[in-house]
């Protein structure tokens, strides 16, 4: 590993890890690693004001990927969230069509950016050179684009990754706090922390 890369990873860990715990506060956003808004969601700053908690996206989702947050989530109660490792988003794009307020913008599969998948090269069993696993690559809806294999090891291309979380759900490696060897980092959060991972 290059020094530069190591530092980057170190930085990202410092910024990302604390937020994974902060999903229960009254005001704090539930969006965190693998906790994602549905496709086409407006930025988290405006989401609360725009979403009327009608639950249509939750209702229309054929895979039950979207859950409606309950009272524990304070001001975020009633808003939709995807728990990527439990049921990821299959990108059927039904939710964006039914959203009455435009909180979920009408976008296509390819345009979806719920976050970006990040492979943790320390925990990924393939990167560690211990087994040949390519589950994330196999389940990726944009195989070869969003996730490709570099010498059989998975690499994410942020240009194409939609953050759907299928890879997170599929990843056979689970470690601390339910995190996987590949996790989706919500875009707005990454922008607020370290640029350009």
């Amino acid at each position: 590993m290059e020094r530069r890369h190591f530092l980057k990873l170190l930085l990202s860990t410092i910024f990302v890890l604390p937020t994974t715990k902060a999903d229960a506060g009254f005001l704090s956003s539930p969006v965190a690693t693998n906790r994602l808004r549905p496709p086409g969601a407006v930025s988290e700053e405006t989401f609360l004001g725009k979403c009327i908690r009608c639950g249509r996206c939750v209702e229309v989702c054929p895979y039950r990927s979207i859950v409606q947050l309950d009272m524990k989530n304070g001001v975020h109660a009633g808003t939709p969230l995807i728990l990527a490792e439990t049921v990821p988003c299959y990108l059927c794009m039904k939710c964006v069509e039914v959203c009455p307020t435009g909180t979920l913008k009408k976008i296509s599969q390819e345009e979806t950016r719920m976050g970006i998948a990040v492979v943790n090269r320390f925990t990924c069993i393939t990167w560690r050179g211990e087994a040949i696993c390519r589950t994330c690559y196999n389940v990726c809806p944009f195989k070869e684009k969003a996730i490709r294999l570099d010498e059989l090891r998975p690499v994410v291309d942020e240009k194409y990754c939609t953050g759907c979380g299928l890879c997170v759900h599929g990843c056979p490696i689970t470690w601390k706090e339910g995190l996987k060897a590949i996790n989706v980092e919500p875009i707005h959060l990454m922008k607020g922390s370290t640029q350009g991972i």
Binding site: F122, A131, I132, G170, W175
Partner: protein, 800 residues
């Protein structure tokens, strides 16, 4: 696998740096197999594909807790795939059968019985069938996943005891065409070379195999070779589908399914036209054969030249369609012929075909005319699907037409030899081969087979046109015994379920693709009352002997009476098989005793006639003097290669004139799409095992169908939509994956699903190769239509 020093230093540095800033990097991972602090590691071989990865099972307080690759093994070099790494989870799974289960009629619920009752019932039912309907009314259907000792003992009892050759196994569904190809081309079954050629090869011709998914650990070696030598090593992938394997290819030939025979004849045409053939090799070792009036006939080189002259690259390109151009064919042929060492690898895309043997012959032809055989890096290597299809079934006599040690049943001399070794009266083994798989299950359908023992496989799900053959298994006048570890689609149709010991719960040998035999010793106790199959067969045979009042049945298991079933019994069976039946045969395993196998990091490749030779690893390349001891021993002249294979008495390699032949069922107006089926890396076959590993099932909960984006647009199918795939035999409804994978006009479905709605083998065609009797799983005609939008589906595994 061990880490390199450099890697270790890096990680240590990272850890130290992390500890300075007061943060722990997650090196000790929870819920992860290899991190478990096992107190003992037992070496064995992987339970899944035919690669033959050497693995170690980690035990903690006698319980299986982890699995890892063995770094000094010559097959996997320490690597394993995810399903391999997780199969230890099956060992203690709560769904395991722990007691014998029985029901008289198939609509009744099962009830638990004792072993004594179970074996009594099995013996009575088989004895009754023999008494009332003759010896050929009983059958054994085994598996390429059964241990060699199991297959050997089963077939011995069936043949010498019950006097029937109705001994078959699922390798008929995957390997039979490769056997036919090797026997007719080289006169000897199984590959000449080894995986070790991969590191010496400079051209790979991968046809009809998605080895990146199906043999990932071998593929890693091919990929490594290519990436280390990006310019000097060329990879040609021939497949109607763009697969993960095609991604490393320099040249991907994508053609209409079933046209590869024309393609390979056209490559031979180019090789001959451009004088790229190896005249010396042909003159020294090869003869040409054609078929006239159903009989093989010798022809000369000129006749062969004339034959392939018909297959001009232009004509073939037109036939093959897809991206095939005359220039592509020429390019492929030149790469193949000019490289210092060309290695072909193929699997089900070639074998599971109406003319699978011919397709195998044509690959072998390319190697023979270019002399790409027996030299470093040159081999025509058929990849095996199952871990013991080669070792147990092809060598151990697990098919209806062969006896142990590559002896055809029909050859009187060899059959009598086996009778003599077994000490049974001459004429005890019937001279006529038994029923091959499709014929066997047709006979079940017709009620001609009254009792069938299905061992370690699930034909109710894996046979093509599955619905048709399940009818017979459902009949109440057909007694079905299943030996298995988990409920399957077949145990659903059984009368008697015998709980079997799993891998590492019994001792036995697996023989992988490259003629390599590896032992897996018992490391843990089977759950409940589950028993090793060798014990079941022995006890059953003793009861059968009483029922039928026939001492010869007892005689067939006599050497094994009273032996402890975990190790000693298997050892005695292996000793009889190797010392008596393989001695002097081309698959000589005399040197590969349990003692030797237990010492080896990676097993022994036959021929291995002596212990000293076996301890060196055996024969890396057959037929080559100085490498293969049999080539030296059986040498008849001063040529460096001696093709002593038992099927060709003239010691020649045969170059066959095999014409182009299409599939049994081509698309038409009613069923306009080609349907092909295949595998995914994480699942194993019917999912009865991998479906019970949560990590694997979560990522691959159900099968789906891949559709080319152009076809999807035509059919109005969007990703994730539910689509119906229907053929003349049945239909399934599964989600669609729209992907630039299958060629336009073809859909590709995965067969890892037990749900009735999604069992693709109900749709596949059961036409079979007239030579190898292997069904054409890979090509049939279907129609495809959108049923609904995306739907959440429930993963399904058969439970009791």
């Amino acid at each position: 696998m061990s880490i390199t020093r450099r890697e270790f230093l890096k990680r240590t540095a990272a850890l130290t740096a992390a500890s300075y800033v007061g943060m722990n990097l997650p090196f000790s991972l929870e819920g992860e197999s290899h991190a478990a602090d096992a107190d003992k590691w037992v070496k064995g071989v992987c339970r899944f594909c035919g690669t033959g990865c050497r693995v170690e099972l980690g035990l903690k307080n006698g319980k299986a807790v982890a699995l890892r690759g063995v770094a000094d093994s010559r097959t996997n070099l320490g690597y394993v795939c995810m399903k391999g790494m997780l199969f230890y989870k099956i060992i203690g799974h709560p769904d395991r059968f722990t007691k014998p289960l029985y029901r008289a009629k198939k609509d009744q619920p099962f009830k638990t019985i004792t072993w004594d009752e179970a074996l009594d019932i099995a013996a009575k039912e088989f004895a009754n069938a023999v008494k009332t309907s003759g010896n050929d009314s009983v059958a054994y259907y085994g598996s390429g996943q059964a241990l060699t000792e199991e297959t050997y003992l089963f077939q011995k009892v069936m043949r010498a005891g019950l006097q029937t050759n109705n001994v078959e196994g699922n390798p008929r569904l995957c390997m039979a065409s490769a056997v036919g190809g090797y026997l007719t081309s080289f006169g000897a079954d199984e590959p000449i070379g080894s995986y070790s050629n991969i590191e010496k090869a400079s051209c790979f011709f991968i046809i009809g195999s998605n080895m990146a998914e199906a043999h990932p650990v071998v593929f890693r070696r091919v990929m490594r070779r290519k990436l280390d030598n990006p310019n000097s090593v060329k990879v040609i992938n021939v497949d109607p589908r763009i697969s993960p394997t095609s991604r490393i290819a320099d040249l991907h030939l994508q053609f209409k399914p079933g046209t590869d025979l024309a393609l390979m004849n056209a490559m031979a045409n180019v090789i001959i036209e451009e004088k790229l053939y190896d005249e010396n090799f042909i003159n020294n070792y090869c003869v040409f054969k054609a078929v006239e009036d159903d009989k093989p006939k010798g022809v000369d080189f000129e006749a062969y030249k004339k034959f392939v002259a018909e297959y001009t690259p232009e004509k073939a390109a037109q036939l093959c369609g897809g991206n095939i151009t005359p220039e592509n064919i020429r390019k492929a042929a030149r790469m193949f012929a000019k490289s210092p060492g060309t290695m072909s690898m193929w699997c089900m895309g070639i074998n599971q075909r109406l003319r699978g043997v011919w397709a195998n012959n044509l690959i072998n032809n390319l190697h023979m005319i270019t002399g790409q055989l027996c030299k470093p890096g040159a081999d025509s290597l058929s990849l095996t699907g199952q871990p013991n299809a080669c070792g147990g079934v092809r060598e151990g006599g697990g098919l209806c037409h062969i006896l142990p040690g590559h002896r055809p049943v029909a050859k009187d001399k060899l059959r009598n030899q086996v009778e003599e070794i077994w000490g049974v009266p001459q004429g005890r083994i019937p001279p006529k081969p038994g029923l091959h798989t499709i014929a066997m299950f047709s006979a079940v359908n017709e009620g001609k087979i009254k009792a069938i023992w299905i061992h370690c496989t699930s034909p109710a799900q894996s046979l093509p046109n599955a619905d048709h053959y399940r009818k017979g298994l459902r009949r109440d006048d057909v007694f079905v015994v299943c030996t298995d570890i988990f409920p399957t689609k077949t145990t659903e149709l059984a009368n008697l379920i015998l709980p079997a010991a799993f891998h590492f719960e019994k001792t036995g040998v697996y023989g992988c693709t490259e003629r390599r035999s590896q032992i897996t010793p018992k490391a843990v106790n089977p759950p409940g009352e589950a028993k090793p199959e060798v014990w079941m067969v022995r006890e059953w045979a003793l009861k059968l002997s009483k029922e039928l009042n026939d001492p010869v049945i007892k005689k067939s298991v006599e050497p094994f009476i009273g032996l402890e079933e975990g190790f000693a019994l298997s050892k005695a069976i292996w000793d009889e098989y190797t010392q008596k039946l393989t001695k002097g045969r081309d698959n000589d395993l005399t040197g590969a005793t349990y003692d030797v196998l237990l010492k080896m990091a990676d097993g022994v490749q036959w021929p291995a006639p002596t212990t000293e030779f076996a301890l060196k690893g055996g024969t890396e390349r057959k037929f080559v003097k100085g490498i293969d001891p049999l080539a030296d021993k059986l040498s008849q002249d001063d040529k460096p290669y001696q093709f002593y294979g038992p099927a060709h008495e003239d010691r020649k390699l045969y170059i066959w004139l095999r014409p182009y032949n299409g599939a049994a069922e081509e698309p038409d107006a009613e069923y306009p799409y080609y349907l092909s089926t295949g595998r995914i890396i994480d699942h194993w076959h019917t999912t009865s095992m991998t479906g019970r590993i949560p990590e694997i099932m979560r990522a691959n909960p159900y099968s789906y169908v891949e559709i080319n984006p152009k076809d999807a647009a035509k059919l109005g199918i969007k990703p994730g939509d539910m689509v119906e795939v229907e053929s003349r035999r049945g239909k399934v409804v599964m989600p669609a994956k729209v992907i630039e994978g299958p060629i336009e006009g073809m859909v590709f479905a995965y067969w890892h699903d037990m749900d009735e709605e999604r069992m693709i083998n109900k749709v596949c065609k059961d036409a079979f190769d007239p030579g190898s009797k292997e069904p054409e799983f890979k090509i049939s005609a279907c129609r495809v239509k959108r049923v609904s939008g995306p739907k959440q589906l429930k993963p399904y595994i058969v439970t009791m």
